[in-house]
């Protein structure tokens, strides 16, 4: 009982401590080996950002995406191996290997054409790739990894 309580308290503390650092709405939660991490838009925007210009098969015309590279995020989380399982609002999930978390690789975009993205507009987070710059990314596999309305990343060993 006590143990359960202590555990509960510990969890609560941890949760509080984790959430306590967040000022705004959580847009991304990461389930890592060291527990959960949460990010609001501000935290993401504070991290070094990357902007890519590319067309996508879901949109019409050239798009400008700005966000945190998956590489940057992995570094931030101290993850070097394994893979992410990305989960979307509509419960769609897909596994993204760490090989995509490279320079010029996957990007967790939070801005499209200079504007924040709403859920209705596939936001607030959308994993995109520089499809136009690397033909390797114009594959069905990559398209399946280009998950929109991203809510959660689960780190897998």
């Amino acid at each position: 009982m006590t143990l359960w309580k202590i555990r509960l308290v510990a969890f609560g503390l941890a949760l509080v401590s984790a959430v306590a650092a967040i000022g705004g709405t959580i847009v991304l939660s990461v389930d890592g080996p060291d527990g959960h991490k949460y990010f609001d838009m501000g935290m993401l925007q504070e991290m070094p950002s990357v902007t890519i210009e590319t067309e996508t098969i879901w949109t019409d015309g050239e798009q400008v995406f700005t966000g945190v590279s998956l590489q940057e995020l992995a570094r931030h989380l101290g993850i070097e191996n394994g893979a992410f399982e990305a989960v979307a609002t509509n419960a769609y999930s897909v596994e993204i290997p760490m090989t995509d978390a490279v320079e010029g690789g996957a990007l967790i975009a939070y801005e499209r054409n200079g504007l924040a993205m709403t859920v209705r507009d596939k936001g607030p987070l959308w994993i995109v790739y520089p499809y136009d710059h690397n033909p390797r990314y114009r594959s069905e596999e990559t398209y399946s990894r280009s998950i929109w309305q991203l809510e959660k990343l689960i780190v897998k060993p």
Binding site: W58, E140, S144
Partner: protein, 823 residues
């Protein structure tokens, strides 16, 4: 199957073209295929079906969230589900993957409807909770209705997409099929190419083999050639030297190759010529035609012996490298053989000539005594002999005449052989000549039971311009032959005219001639077979002489015959029709005017005696001398009107005697006429040059004598009269206009000739040729002294011209011409 070059060329272009086309097609199709496969791998398509079905799922979730609101479900969940569904619809609207869906007549409107109804919900969703709460029932209704549309969109969308995929698949399939065909063709072409290569390779091997064989053969040919074969490069160094060359020049192959040719085998005196000559020579050799030529040169043996070679040389160029290939042969022996042959030929010719000369000399040596015999017979006739004696005398005369004929035949032949034809062209009565001839031979024909018929088809043109004596001679010859070989038959003499050409024929019904013999009857000394010989009498020269005469007149002669049926001999000569000489007086032959002082110089006693008797009989005052020396003495002391002098006399001959007389001015203005049996042209000219006025050939007829006496002893008037007769004949023959023109031209031409004659020097060739021509004209005009002077001029090739005699002759001729032109 060896491919020949022609076929290979013919194949190369299309095969190459097809290959290139195939490769281009393959590359093009390959790229297209890559693009298509790339399209597949880059999944332009994403997962369209999944996306479409996801739309329905998300619609259901939205519906579920809305339906959950009355049971306490949260509105924020409704908003989330709405946004998710809305973003899905937005993708359908935006993405080019759904262009087909948007444009499809079924799915397009469906999509637009769904979008429109969603758009109507946006303000409610984005609005405050209370209002959204209130709209839930309405939303439930709308979504329930819309569920069917979404379902239809899904199904129809998938169909549209499947169709698109099908189209793309078909395109891909088509490309694959095409690529397949291209590959099939390409492989086929490669196999064909490999085959061709294999054939070419086989052919090349065969050629190489043949080439090796032919090289070996060539090597064998070169080494076994009997001719020396030398190959020399453009620098003059020997590059090839075969076995025969070793034998001919004495050097071994090893010694010769690489050495300069000039040093080795060309005699020293020719070396520089060869050095400069080689390029020129090679150029000449390269020209077509000259390359075939064989050249004779001198060559040098190793021992220093120079020997003649015959060689041919040809440049041979391969790959820009020129060598001169030369075939040489030692022709020392050949040249010796040629020289020997030439000597033999010259000897034979000289022998032939000596024989001919002997014959000629013999003939006229025979003629002089024969003349004496015949003359004596005539004189004997007048001396009152008995009947028996007269019979014997006649026999002697017949035999003598026959012998004289033979001798004359031989002399005539040698005369003709030397090319002299004393043409006496004048207007004569051709019809009378032919009929007279027939007439004269009637008696002799009758003796053999033959008849002579004369057939003259000349129309009214009885007269012709030509040499009647020659025509008569030929005709007589043919007639004589016909009579000889016919017994109890008919001989027909025909003459017909075709323009200027007159054809004569003599046809007989005699023994005829075998066709083999027809070929050679015109050759010399031909008397055919034994039976002929028995029947015939003669030298066999008759037809040969006839042919020569006819040819000299520019005519043709021929014969046709049928053995046992008879022969036909014909000849054609050009005898232009002319007007008859109406005024021509037919003087009876007389020995000219009487009482002339005449000196006879003749070594042969009988001939001298005969001449003296004959001339005395006609009232001339005759003195005689028996040799040249005596004549000179006599002339020195006495004056004569005419001197008749024999040429060949022992001691001082006629020519020497005349030279002395002329040099010593012993008989100024006395014409000296030569009597000679020498009938050849050169003799005649030699005699005229010596200072004789005229040459009479022995035996001299009484008529010739009379003419000579008249011509050379008459007064100047008589002279003019005589020569005018020739001119009159020309006027009669040509008509006065043309005759006058002819005379004027003759005058002009003579004066031009005279201008070129210098007394001091001998005339040149052109002048002599012109003199010959004018001499002919003078002869036609009857200007005898001028003709003689011109003939002397023609013959004077290295002696000065007797200008005084020429001028004197012209003066006389001019008087006659002027007189004729004035008439």
């Amino acid at each position: 199957m060896p491919l020949n070059t022609e076929i290979r060329k013919w194949l190369a272009a299309p095969v190459g073209g097809v290959l290139v086309l195939l490769i281009i097609s393959a590359v093009f199709l390959g790229r297209e295929l890559l693009r298509q496969v790339d399209g597949l791998s880059t999944a332009e398509a994403d997962n369209v079906q999944w996306n479409l079905s996801q739309g329905e799922v998300e619609h259901l979730r939205l519906e579920g969230a809305v339906n959950a609101v009355p049971q306490g479900g949260s509105l924020s969940e409704v908003r989330r589900r709405f946004d998710v569904f809305y973003s899905r619809i937005a993708i359908y609207q935006e993405s080019h993957l759904y262009q087909g869906v948007r444009q499809d007549p079924v799915t397009g409107p469906l999509l637009r409807d769904i979008q429109a109804s969603m758009d109507t919900l946006v303000p409610l969703i984005d609005g405050p909770d209370e209002i959204l709460h209130k709209t839930v029932p309405k939303m439930q209704e709308l979504l329930a209705e819309q569920a069917t549309d979404v379902r239809r969109l899904l199904i129809a969308g998938i169909a549209v997409h499947t169709q698109e995929t099908e189209v793309r698949r078909n395109a891909l399939r088509l490309i694959l099929v095409r690529l397949g065909w291209v590959l099939v063709f390409l492989v086929g072409a490669l196999i064909a190419g490999a085959n061709v290569l294999w054939l070419l390779n086989r052919r090349a091997k065969q050629l190489a083999k043949e080439s090796a064989e032919s090289a070996a053969r060539m090597e064998a040919m070169v080494s076994s050639s009997l001719d020396a074969i030398l190959m020399v490069d453009t620098e003059g160094f020997i590059r090839g030297f075969n076995g025969a060359a070793e034998a001919i020049f004495g050097y071994t192959q090893a010694e010769a190759i690489g050495r300069p040719m000039a040093e080795l085998i060309i005699p020293e005196q020719f070396r520089t010529a060869n050095k400069t000559g080689l390029p020129r020579f090679s150029n000449a050799a390269a020209r077509p035609g000259t390359g075939k030529g064989r050249i004779r040169l001198q060559a040098l043996h190793k021992t220093g012996r120079v020997f003649p070679v015959e060689l041919s040389i040809k440049p041979s160029t391969s790959g820009g490298d020129t060598v001169f290939v030369s075939f040489l042969r030692d022709i020392t022996e050949q040249l010796e053989a040629e020289e020997e042959l030439r000597r033999a030929r010259d000897d034979a010719l000289a022998g032939e000539k000596a024989k001919a000369n002997l014959l000629t000399v013999m003939s006229h040596e025979m003629r002089t005594p024969l003349n004496g015999v015949l003359g004596a017979i005539n004189l004997l006739d007048d001396t009152g002999i008995t009947k028996d004696q007269r019979r014997y005398l006649d026999a002697m005369r017949v035999s003598g005449d026959l012998l004289l004929n033979h001798v004359n035949d031989v002399l005539e032949l040698s005369r003709l052989e030397a090319g002299i034809t004393a043409e006496e062209v004048r207007v004569f009565d051709l019809a009378a000549l032919v009929s007279g001839l027939g007439e004269s031979q009637q008696a002799s024909a009758a003796r053999r039971g033959n008849q002579i018929q004369v057939d003259i088809s000349l129309g009214r043109e009885h007269h012709a311009l030509g040499d009647p004596l020659q025509v008569q001679r030929v005709l007589l010859n043919l007639l004589g032959n016909a009579l000889k070989f016919t017994r109890g038959g008919t001989i027909t003499i025909s003459v017909s005219r075709q323009g200027d050409l007159v054809e004569f024929s003599v046809a007989d019904t005699g023994v005829g001639i075998e066709s083999d013999d027809l070929e050679r009857i015109f050759d010399e000394f031909i008397t055919l077979d034994a039976s002929y010989a028995r029947q015939s009498e003669g030298t066999g020269l008759g037809l040969s002489i006839s042919r020569r005469i006819v040819r000299a007149m520019g005519g043709e002669i021929g014969a046709e015959s049928e053995p046992g049926e008879g022969s036909l001999f014909w000849f054609t000569v050009s005898l232009p029709a002319a007007l008859p000489e109406t005024e021509r007086s037919s003087r009876p032959p007389a020995l000219g005017d009487v009482g002339r002082r005449i000196l006879i110089v003749e070594d042969n006693e009988i001939n001298r005696l005969l001449l003296v008797k004959v001339l005395e009989k006609h009232g001339h005052e005759v003195t005689s001398a028996c040799g040249g020396e005596e004549s000179v003495q006599i002339v020195g002391g006495q004056r004569f009107d005419l001197i008749l002098m024999d040429i060949s006399m022992p001691g001082m001959d006629g020519i020497e005697a005349v030279s002395r007389i002329r040099r010593g001015r012993l008989a100024e203005n006395t014409p000296i006429v030569a009597l000679t049996a020498h009938a050849a042209a050169e003799d005649r000219q030699r005699i005229l040059r010596a200072g004789f006025a005229e040459v009479l050939t022995k035996p001299v007829s009484q008529k010739d004598l009379a003419t000579a006496i008249r011509d050379y002893t008459g007064t100047s008037h008589a002279n003019a009269d005589q020569t005018a007769e020739g001119i009159r004949a020309v006027f009669d023959g040509l008509g006065s206009d043309r005759a006058a023109y002819y005379l004027n031209r003759f005058q002009r031409e003579y004066l031009m000739l005279r201008a070129g004659v210098n007394s001091g020097s001998s005339p040149d060739k052109a002048l002599r040729a012109e003199a010959h021509r004018l001499a002919g004209s003078a002869s036609i005009l009857g200007l005898k002294p001028l003709q003689n002077c011109l003939a002397a001029l023609e013959a004077a090739d290295d002696s000065p011209v007797d200008v005084a005699a020429l001028d004197a002759a012209w003066e006389r001729a001019e008087t006659v011409i002027t007189a004729a032109l004035e008439i």
